[in-house]
């Protein structure tokens, strides 16, 4: 009788371990942080093209959609997503704000001259600390903002599917 119970427990134990490992196989090992930040961080930024400092309050008004895009001239995927930002800029319901991440100012300006400037304002993050306040961890990363709240965040470059999704949000 005890042998039977031990055998039964063994089978259950191995089944349990098998299920855990099997489930683990399908998990992506790329971690996306589950952030609790819902509202935008209150910070003061320097601007890339104008010589002035800006507050979060000055930049983001209520009753309007904003797209905060973290980019850098040295980031290759940013080049790929740039045409999508330019096409989204034609939409009047949304304002695109750039956050230039750890970049050389001249390189950033050349990047915009070469590929076009979809941003209404470009903020500077020279040491990467502002991106951390946003809960971002690399470039490119994009936040969709409405009423000072982050409603959606996209890690990695935007593509045509994500662009369609954003267009549905801002309709």
């Amino acid at each position: 009788m005890t042998n039977k119970i031990i055998y039964f427990l063994f089978v259950i134990f191995f089944l349990f371990i098998f299920i855990i490992f099997y489930k683990g196989l399908n998990n992506s090992n790329l971690y996306t942080p589950n952030t609790e930040i819902k509202s935008i961080p209150k910070l003061t930024y320097e601007s890339l093209l104008k010589k002035s400092s800006l507050n979060s309050k000055d930049i983001f008004n209520k009753n309007r959609f904003y797209l905060l895009n973290i980019w850098a001239s040295w980031c290759v995927p940013c080049r790929d997503e740039h045409p999508f930002l330019i096409s989204l800029n034609k939409n009047e319901n949304i304002k695109i704000i750039g956050l230039n991440y750890k970049d050389n100012i001249n390189n950033a300006k050349n990047f915009l001259n070469e590929l076009g400037n979809p941003y209404s304002t470009i903020l500077l993050d020279t040491d990467g600390t502002k991106a951390i306040e946003w809960g971002a961890y690399g470039v490119p990363e994009t936040f969709l903002i409405y009423e000072n709240k982050i409603i959606k965040r996209y890690i990695g470059p935007l593509n045509s599917e994500l662009l369609d999704e954003i267009k549905i949000y801002i309709k």
């Binding site: 971690y31 942080p33 952030t35 609790e36 040491d127 990467g128 600390t129 991106a131 951390i132 690399g138």
Partner: protein, 121 residues
Amino acid sequence: MKFFKFILVILIFFTFSLLKADEIKLENKITKNLRCLICQGQSVYDSDSEFAISLKLVVKNKINEGYSEDQIYKFLTKKYGDWILYDPQFNKNTYFLWFLPLLIFVFGGAIIMKKFINIKK
């Protein structure tokens, strides 16, 4: 008098450098407990990725602003989730994790005790 001034300067110098050393110690302790989210096998302390460099700077700034170790962890878990900490904090998601070794210990102890009692009988 000059001698006293000299002593005073040396004393002040050493107290400040000690303070600084404490800050660096705390900074290193915190960054060693933070997981680099870009290169996930490494701590922020060991990593030289852009993210880790910025995060080290953030931790340093927060210590200068007077944040305690726990406050810094709270600030970062709010932004990046519990995953960023190597040493998970005690909360409702980690009760099981923290109590499991204790439970196994008690359970194992009970089995051994039972055997002993049986042998004595």
